[in-house]
């Protein structure tokens, strides 16, 4: 794809680059008005996108079926409007009906999936031996299964971590650190990839490297 040729697109690319530099001026230098302006511009843009998206969802997913004759869709409108009593202390209790409904449906949907995917299957995987596997497979199975038990024991505070209980909790702590170290390494990859993307964008706008 070539560098933008339309005047508004070229302007947009430079505006994006300038705003990026203003944001990074805070990190590379110090707090300044350019950064603050860019920050407020982003907040304003986010607000606009959120409101426009919300109106679109309400129009397409609630109002349209309602206008089509499905009277059940009056409920999301009523419940949604009830939510707007939240900022008003005197009428806040009205919004609790909606919050209760959302809590109910949210937890209802999450729990039914979590029971199988996050609990049962994981525990089954921890106790299912790799029959016919290589010695390394067996080592990995024992390591993961025991490690899982040790880390859970480290987070169990109803019994003091003394005596015989000290050893598994200590091993659990070490394995916890190992896992956190790996997680940190992956986090660094993610963050650096994001940052490299912005550096690349600036180089592309300034025509130092080709536009993708």
């Amino acid at each position: 794809m070539p560098y933008p040729t339309e005047p508004l697109e070229i302007l947009g690319a430079w505006v994006g680059a300038l705003l990026t530099i203003f944001i990074y001026s805070y990190i590379l230098w110090r707090e300044n008005y350019a950064f603050r302006w860019a920050e407020h511009t982003y907040i304003a843009s986010s607000f606009a996108v959120a409101v426009v998206q919300a109106i679109r969802i309400i129009r397409n997913n609630v109002v349209a079926p309602l206008m089509g004759g499905d009277m059940r869709y009056i409920m999301p409108i009523i419940l949604g409007l009830m939510l707007y009593t939240l900022p008003f202390r005197r009428f806040r209790w009205i919004s609790r009906y909606v919050v209760s409904f959302l809590v109910g449906i949210g937890f209802g949907v999450s729990v039914r999936g979590a029971l199988s995917a996050d609990i049962t299957r994981q525990i089954l995987s921890s106790v299912t031996a790799p029959l016919g596997g290589t010695p390394m497979d067996w080592f990995n199975f024992i390591y993961v299964s025991l490690g899982f038990v040790f880390i859970v024991s480290y987070f169990t505070f109803t019994k003091e971590h003394t005596g015989w209980y000290y050893v598994p909790t200590k091993i659990g702590r070490y394995l916890l650190m190992l896992g956190l170290g790996v997680y940190f390494g992956n986090t660094v990859q993610f963050r650096m990839a994001m940052l490299s993307g912005r550096v690349q964008y600036l180089l592309q706008v300034f025509k130092i490297i080709p536009w993708p």
């Binding site: 994006g16 843009s45 919300a54 309400i58 999301p76 940190f184």
Partner: protein
């Protein structure tokens, strides 16, 4: 009458019934129950849209306060925020795919979002420098694992030592598995227990001030 409508028992009952219907629909696939769950899910989507705009209103109050009070160093930016938001919303209501809304979505919203997201790259580097000191055995384990994974995630690692990818692979698939699995299972157990506590009316935090008393807002 109003005080009756504010009783926390009503809200707990609503949350419990909705949760219960959802679980019944999962474990006992009865047509009418599944249709009800599907309808409630659709309602939740619509209600979420109203909540999006609510977040904007809450933040708008704060910035309006800055403008009214002429808070030094803040009010011009808050004024700019309102102007930009208003123009963008109006443009978005006219057309989402052309005009100013589409332009600012492509050249302001997305680049700035990416930029702010990417600032953590700087912070993680300086945080790693400051905090990653091998003060103890545990810290040393974390440090060594992190360095091996960092080297393994980039192509230069295998140039430095050809076994780095092998060790990294083991750490990724098996090394960290007990930790991630333990967090996952315990978090899921916590989620289930929390849901049961909500159903039983023991957890009332989502009700705010009403939860701890018989009535009132």
């Amino acid at each position: 009458m109003a005080s009756v409508l504010r009783r926390p028992e009503i809200f707990i009952f609503i949350a419990g019934v909705v949760m219960g219907i959802t679980w019944i629909g999962y474990f006992f696939p009865l047509g009418a129950v599944e249709d009800t769950v599907s309808l409630m899910q659709t309602w939740a989507v619509g209600i979420s849209a109203f909540a999006l705009a609510l977040g904007f209103l809450s933040a708008a109050r704060i910035h309006l306060h800055y403008i009214r009070r002429r808070t030094p160093g803040m009010w011009p930016f808050s004024l700019w925020l309102f102007i930009f938001t208003a123009v963008a919303i109006i443009a978005g209501l006219i057309s989402e795919t052309t005009g100013f809304y589409a332009w600012q979505f492509k050249w302001v919203y997305t680049p700035l979002g990416a930029t702010l997201y990417a600032t953590t790259g700087f912070y993680i580097c300086s945080a790693a420098y400051r905090a990653f000191r091998a003060r103890s055995v545990e810290a040393a384990i974390l440090l060594i694992a992190g360095i091996i994974v960092m080297l393994g995630n980039c192509t230069i690692g295998e140039v430095i030592w050809k076994d780095i990818p092998v060790i990294n692979e083991w750490l990724q698939i098996h090394g960290q598995a007990p930790f991630i699995r333990a967090i996952m299972v315990t978090a899921a157990l916590g989620l289930v227990l929390y849901a049961l506590r909500i159903m039983a009316g023991i957890e009332r935090g989502y009700l705010g001030a009403i939860g701890g008393e018989g009535g009132g807002g």
